[in-house]
């Protein structure tokens, strides 16, 4: 600030050439720039402009969505889609699997390459935050590009950036420009007008030009992302490392045994809970057996820097052999950068086994030395000795195994023990007393524990646990709970609470230090009392009744009077344990066993409310109570909370109380008054300020503000909690690097693992693992060649899943869902299929096959959205039953040929029937004699020739067919074959479609109907009015007047007639001649054209021959060249 003030102000030249120049320029600008040129002059125009601006503003608005990306977000997933390309600056020998790099101060990127396999494309579309769509400009758009765009659209449409490559192939500048423009516009119509399209000229020396790549990465690093609904409601993880932890012995015995697999990656989406069900697309549903946080392998630079130094540009790609050190839960992995050749066949599972050719540094030497070890790491560990105390005998890990006395201990358990050792090293004060600590403290060794002194072990756990608190390892809640409770039974917990320590018979003089320990542990225990309350409630060790009745009263500080009483009762109950059973034996159900919220209320000690002191004690709960008391005690009005801050500990609370009591009465009164005043002011402000002062907040801003407020709350709520509580309460946050343990994975998952195919671990919400009937709105894709057939299997990509199911297409006609045989050509229809439940409004796309058999056509068959979930469906198809009358009375007829039994008729009693001519009727009763015949009544007399039909609706139930696509479990991932389409089966088995003779179109033969003449009885005729009487006349015997006379033309008339005839004859002759001429001309022209065509064809043929000759030569030449080069490389 001071510096600025000291700086001299700019003083423009007052004279000289510079001044002249300036003034000239100004003058020129003045002429050009009319400052008011764009201001509206008329009110109408102003209004129009304002309206337009408003419209543009409104267009920009989106529905506010909750953005759940954490403060330290996980790396952005950049999917590179298109023909194989080179992208990264690092010269990776091979790009396999995801590659994570730090690209900026606050941004990391994970690159994934996407092959054109349909499975891969679908999976990538579900996780990519940004898609780099590589388009070969020399080729144009590929079918895959459009397919991928379509998949993206149905799965939320992440950001897309087009990259045009191979621009150097264009020699002509004009064609380059036009191609660019054409491709750009096509790209825009697909995404949105003005979508960003990048141009890469081509590979020079195996790399893209630096400048262009830099621009591209700059664009990526400033990109903003809009939250996508599915990913914003589901946790997921893209595995960047996969490890098989199965016991090798087990694998040796049974190569097809289920595997234990760990997956590593950054969590994304929402919080992942430790016992969540997950779906791995391509491998099926799994239950997480363990999640643990690992240190970030690719951390953001900790200090705020202006720019990123090379040192901080970390790259992490465990699947593609890039240098870097990796921290696992139990080991450090070192990858040696550089080029290697394999030195020996000695395979060490843990460390990269590549020997260097060049001169080695000491560190590298060490690593290489390690590889020469004859034993595996596990063996070494077993042999390794650990001296913990100077005077104690060294321990061997193998001893431990013997001690444990379990025949088959897998390497993992050993690993964990080692880990445990490491952990204990920090627990200095506990170590002094402890001899055999390394025997315990792995996470799941409940079997181990039995062998040791229970008491000792308990305190060890307390100690080790407390020092390893920052490391979260959730096995599953129960085991964890046990650990924190440090006990197995009720009595134990009492010990911990210090209530029963003295009574413990195990505690004699010689073990005095242990009691000391207990004290310590108790202190630690009480220092974090909140966990204790959660512990009590969630540990399942005490019944709810026990907890509620205040066995832990000293923790919760509930009313003393009632508790004492309860405690006494409770203790009695505890001593005589079988009392409860006694009460159960009797049929009278005690209050506790009745399932009702009300009975859990304590209504026994209401007498205390007769006491005046007691009555006065809650005076402050009412608005009539005094304010002073309130402020000093810290009754929680919102303002009070703010004043006194957090009361987490009892001690601090007490301190505040002391302060309060120190204040004189006067001060308190003043304080209260001030508070009151402040409150009033606040109220006044709230009422009046908004109207004139601050601008009115509109609906959009209000919602946005609400969202951000809630996010703020979410962040702050668990800020000061330890990681264990956080993991328990809110799960694992997105952005953390975790290791996921899955048990019972199919062996093919490991056996046929291919890093080119992404492994996604998608979390499932509560009901999403269940199956049901899903009704969707579906539309055949307009680029898909065929319409879709009902009950033909279709592969859906819905939510995380890819599965095959058999949809039934329907249309709702207002009253019912009618089955369709095929999807409509250009219209939405409904489809119902059986599959895993997904929330309504989830969109999906469907393909007929995921294998690469018909890559030439557009493979996306249909897209749609989920409408409804149910466990039963109402789909009908029309069924017309026909019959014929065989006996007709007045309005009654007997119908045959409609049903075959009386039972069938009985089912349709009362159903409406109809004749073809439209006479309506009703089914009455079946007739006993000819089975299936029935009596029916009609509104009019039917004819014997009438066909009677009954229109019914036949319910259709979709097949319960659900077949998850398990492409990841195949050796060749592209070859997944599900259920075949009907057409495919017929083709392969060479079957013809079945022919229903009734459905064949035949020539309709209609006999001419002969009607008998209408005969009216004479008596009836006599009564008819004259108009209605049949008028039958006698045949004339004489000719009529007109019949007798001949008609002759007048001479004038005759003349006119002949003239007209002559004219017409002439015209006709003329026309005939003209037509003849025209035909002749046409023939001539055709001949001419044919001649030309033959010449052209010959020319074309010639040209073609020439072209292919050249092409052949080129190919030959290039073949020989490559051969030569390969030969050269072999020799070198």
């Amino acid at each position: 600030m001071d510096n600025k003030e000291q700086q001299k102000a700019h003083r423009p030249r007052q004279a000289g050439s510079k001044k002249d120049k300036k003034s000239k320029k100004q003058k020129k600008n003045e002429e050009k720039n009319n400052p008011k040129a764009f201001a509206p002059f008329s009110g109408r125009k102003a209004e129009k402009l304002a309206r337009r601006k408003q419209e543009l503003d409104q267009k920009k608005l989106h529905v506010p969505l909750v953005d759940r990306t954490p403060t330290e977000p996980p790396p952005v997933i950049v999917a590179v889609v298109g023909p194989p390309q080179r992208y990264t600056k690092h010269n990776l020998t091979e790009i396999k699997g995801p590659i994570t790099v730090v690209s900026g101060k606050k941004r990391r990127l994970t690159f994934i390459e996407c092959t054109n396999d349909m499975n891969c494309m679908i999976d990538i579309a579900k996780i990519a935050d940004l898609v780099l769509l590589l388009i070969d400009a020399s080729f144009g758009f590929e079918m895959e590009t459009f397919e991928f765009l379509n998949i993206l659209q149905t799965h939320g449409f992440p950001k897309i950036m087009g990259v045009l490559t191979h621009l150097d192939k264009f020699k002509n500048n004009k064609t380059l420009r036009t191609t660019k423009k054409r491709l750009k516009h096509r790209f825009w119509t697909e995404i949105y007008q003005g979508a960003k399209l990048f141009y890469l000229s081509g590979i020079i020396n195996g790399r893209y030009p630096n400048q262009e790549i830099q621009n591209l990465s700059r664009f990526i690093s400033v990109m903003k992302f809009r939250p996508l609904i599915w990913r914003n409601t589901h946790p997921y993880l893209v595995a960047d490392r996969v490890e098989d932890l199965t016991d090798p012995e087990e694998v040796r015995l049974n190569p097809l045994c289920d595997r234990t697999v760990t997956l590593y990656g950054y969590l994304r989406g929402t919080n992942m809970k430790s016992t969540m069900k997950v779906h791995i697309p391509g491998a099926g549903d799994q239950i997480l057996s363990d999640i643990s946080i690992l240190p970030d392998p690719c951390p953001l630079p900790d200090k705020v820097r202006k720019s990123l130094s090379e040192k901080h540009k970390v790259i992490y790609a465990p699947m593609s052999d890039v240098g870097g050190i990796m921290y696992d839960k139990d080991a450090v992995y070192i990858n040696i950068p550089g080029s290697f050749t394999r030195k020996s066949d000695q395979i060490d599972t843990e460390v990269d086994d590549n020997g260097p050719e060049y001169e080695q540094g000491p560190g590298e030497k060490m690593v290489i030395h390690l590889q020469d070890a004859p034993d595996t790491l596990a063996d070494k560990l077993e042999e390794s000795e650990l001296t913990i105390f100077a005077n104690s005998a060294p321990m061997k890990a193998s001893d431990l195994v013997e001690e444990v006395n379990s025949g088959s201990i897998d390497s993992k358990q050993i690993d964990e023990n080692i880990r445990g050792r490491r952990k204990v090293r920090f627990a200095d004060d506990v170590k002094k007393h402890d001899g055999g600590e390394q025997e315990t403290d792995s996470d799941e060794e409940s079997d181990f524990e039995e062998d040791y002194d229970e008491f000792e072990e308990k305190w060890e756990k307390v100690a080790s646990r407390s020092f390893a608190f920052n490391r979260v390892n959730m096995k599953n809640p129960e085991i964890n709970d046990e650990e924190i409770a440090y006990a197995e039974s009720d009595s134990d917990i009492e010990d911990i609470l210090g209530q029963g320590v003295d009574d413990d018979p195990a505690l004699d003089g010689s073990l005095k230090w242990k009691s000391n320990l207990a004290e310590k542990a108790k202190k630690m225990f009480f220092s974090n009392r909140r966990i204790n309350i959660m512990q009590l409630i969630y540990s399942n060790e005490k019944t709810p009744e026990e907890i509620a009745s205040g066995k832990f009263s000293d923790l919760l500080k509930v009313e003393a009077a009632s508790n004492e009483k309860d405690n006494v009762e409770e203790e009695e109950n505890d001593e005589e344990f079988f009392k409860i059973i006694k009460s159960q034996d009797k049929d009278s159900e005690s209050m506790n066993t009745i399932d009702s919220t009300k009975t859990y209320l304590d209504i026994s000690n209401l007498d205390k409310w007769d006491d005046e002191v007691m009555l006065e004690s809650i005076r402050n709960r009412f608005i009539t109570g005094s304010l002073e008391d309130d402020s000093s005690v810290g009754e929680n009005d919102s303002s009070d909370n703010e004043v006194h801050g957090d009361f987490e500990d009892l001690e601090t609370g007490e301190v505040v109380k002391v302060e309060g009591s120190k204040k004189s009465e006067n001060e308190i009164e003043q304080e209260a008054l001030a508070q009151k005043r402040a409150l009033l002011k606040k109220k006044f402000d709230a009422e009046y300020d908004e109207k004139d002062g601050t601008p009115k907040v509109d609906f959009y801003d209000e919602i946005k503000e609400g969202i951000s407020k809630q996010l703020q709350l979410n962040r702050e709520e668990f800020e000061d909690d330890d990681s264990h509580t956080r993991a328990m309460v809110e799960g694992f946050r997105p952005g953390t690097y975790v290791r996921i343990l899955l048990r019972r994975m199919p062996c093919e998952f490991v056996k046929y693992f291919d890093p080119a195919y992404p492994i996604i671990v998608g979390g499932l919400l509560a009901t999403e693992e269940n199956l049901g009937f899903i009704q969707v709105r579906i539309k055949r894709h307009r680029w898909h060649k065929k319409i879709l057939k009902t009950k033909d299997p279709l592969i859906f990509s819905l939510g995380w899943r890819r599965f095959q199911s058999m949809p039934i297409y329907t249309l709702n006609d207002g009253t019912r869902n009618r089955m369709l045989k095929y999807t409509p050509e250009h219209m939405h229809c409904l489809a119902t299929f059986y599959g895993p439940i997904h929330p309504p409004n989830t969109s999906f796309c469907a393909v007929q096959s995921v294998s690469n058999d018909n890559a030439a056509t557009f493979r996306i068959s249909a897209t749609g959205v989920v409408l409804d979930i149910n466990h039963s469906v109402e789909i009908v198809k029309k069924l017309k039953l026909t019959g014929a009358p065989y006996k007709i009375f007045k309005n009654t007829a007997f119908i045959k040929d409609m049903f075959t039994s009386a039972l069938e008729v009985a089912k349709f009693e009362g159903a409406a029937i109809r004749t073809v001519s439209g006479i309506r009727g009703q089914v009455k009763k079946p007739i006993t004699k000819p089975e299936g015949h029935f009596r029916a009544t009609f509104e009019d007399k039917v004819l014997m020739s009438d066909i009677i039909f009954l229109r019914a609706w036949y319910p259709i139930i979709p097949k319960k067919f659900y077949n998850p696509v398990t492409s990841l479990l195949l050796s060749s991932k592209k070859e997944w074959q599900g259920m075949r389409l009907t057409g495919q089966i017929r083709k392969e088995l060479e079957l013809t479609p079945p022919i229903n003779p009734d459905s064949q179109y035949k020539k309709i033969e209609r006999k001419a109907r002969r009607f008998n003449p209408l005969h009216i009885p004479l008596s009836l005729q006599a009564n008819l009015p004259f108009a209605s009487k049949p008028k039958i006349l006698k045949k004339r015997t004489k000719q009529t007047y007109l019949q007798k006379r001949a008609v002759v033309l007048e001479p004038k008339e005759k003349k006119m007639y002949t003239l007209m005839q002559q004219i017409n004859t002439l015209k006709k002759e003329k026309d005939r001649k003209r037509k003849e001429k025209q035909v002749k001309k046409h023939h001539e022209y055709a001949k001419k054209m044919a001649k030309r065509d033959t010449i052209l064809a010959e020319k074309d043929k010639k040209e073609r021959r020439e072209y292919f000759r050249k092409q052949g030569l080129l190919q030959k030449r290039s073949a020989t060249y490559s051969e030569g080069s390969s030969k050269r490389s072999k020799t070198s």
């Binding site: 009392r529 399932d595 209401l606 709960r621 009005d637 009361f647 709520e717 466990h871």
Partner: protein, 364 residues
């Protein structure tokens, strides 16, 4: 006693206690639940008639759910279906009051395919289950904070006292897609007390006596005490004589506390009046933003909220609520962060919702 174990997809519980909540939580979470050892040690083993009736009701409000009960009635296997709702009539019988059936259904109702329109027949007020008055004036208002407001209605068309019942109620609830998270930690101070004194087939004077005795206890704190007398006559008054009182205290921040009592044979209105008032005082002394009767409801709705933090202040946890917390953990894997506030002996409970959406709601 009632411990839990899970094998794969099926959650297993034992004991007949907390049967309703487990069935309801299973329905909401879509998990299959198996309940074993239902009164297996008892002379009269198996399900009681009201429990069977509740299962039947559950079948009515859902589609596709299957309930397998073994021969002795000591084991249930419940596979939940989709909550459908719609117009449903159910006769609740006389062994338990309507509250037993209605209370758990309140949570299902917002997540149905169609709005619930339930008509129940049975006992409206008794001393075992929550009375209809309390549900109407307190429980249903809890839903309001979670965004369920319009169309929520409970009508007591007929009152029925124990033992013969004969009451009838009509419950209507709209459907929602998602709930809102709540932040409710300010309990405020009591600004008014309301109540309903009802009587059936007894002298209307009893209602007035109830009011007087309750007021005599409560008036010392606050003048704004108003207790309605609700006397049902003739056809609408059910089959048995009886009277009951339910009280509601409302705080400045909208927290509601309730207490209720129904008369047992031989009790005078004065007894009931003062007893209910004292119960209310008891409830008030516990503090918190929600009373003990409705703790479970609030906590469950917090769990079903979006993936945001919900926070509430509660007084002393009841045993029922504690078991509810455990069951919530088993079904939804949600653990509450419980922090005790030593300044006024309350607990601050916070959780992250599971992001529950109404799967059965149709879209167009």
């Amino acid at each position: 006693m009632s411990n839990k174990s899970s094998t794969g997809k099926v959650l297993s519980f034992s004991g007949h206690e907390y049967l309703r909540q487990r069935l309801i939580l299973a329905t909401l979470s879509g998990k299959i639940v198996k309940i074993i050892k239902i009164r297996s040690e008892n002379d009269n083993p198996g399900l009681r008639d009201f429990e069977a009736s509740f299962l039947r009701l559950l079948e009515k409000v859902t589609n596709g759910s299957t309930i397998d009960i073994n021969y002795a009635g000591t084991t249930i296997l419940y596979k939940p279906g989709v909550i459908t709702g719609g117009k449903i009539y159910h006769d609740c019988g006389t062994s338990r009051a309507i509250g037993y059936f209605l209370e758990p259904l309140i949570v299902l109702a917002p997540f149905g395919k169609q709005p619930f329109d339930l008509t129940f027949n049975g006992i409206t007020n008794d001393n075992v289950d929550t009375s209809m008055d309390s549900i109407r004036t307190v429980t249903l208002l809890q839903l309001r904070r979670f965004g369920i407001e319009e169309g929520l209605e409970l009508k007591i068309t007929k009152r029925g006292s124990a033992p013969l019942g004969g009451g009838e109620i009509n419950f209507k609830c709209p459907i929602v897609r998602t709930l809102k998270p709540i932040q409710f930690t300010d309990e405020g101070r009591i600004k008014r007390i309301r109540g309903i004194a009802c009587c059936t087939r007894v002298s209307p004077q009893n209602a007035n006596r109830l009011v007087d005795s309750a007021r005599s206890v409560l008036n010392r704190y606050i003048p704004d005490v108003y207790i309605y007398t609700d006397v049902y006559k003739g056809e609408e008054s059910g089959k048995s004589p009886g009277f009951a009182l339910s009280l509601v205290a409302e705080s400045t921040t909208g927290a509601l506390y309730s207490a209720e009592q129904a008369a047992l044979p031989g009790e005078t209105p004065e007894d009931i009046g003062s007893k209910t008032a004292k119960l209310l005082l008891n409830e008030l002394s516990k503090g918190g933003c929600v009373d003990s009767l409705n703790q479970w409801l609030t906590l469950l709705l917090m769990v079903l909220g979006p993936e945001d933090v919900s926070k509430i202040r509660v007084g002393k946890l009841t045993a029922f609520t504690i078991q509810y917390l455990r069951d919530l953990r088993d079904f939804f894997a949600v653990t509450f962060k419980i922090k005790s506030d030593s300044t006024n002996n309350t607990l601050l409970m916070a959780c992250v919702g599971v992001g529950y959406v109404n799967y059965s709601k149709k879209t167009n």
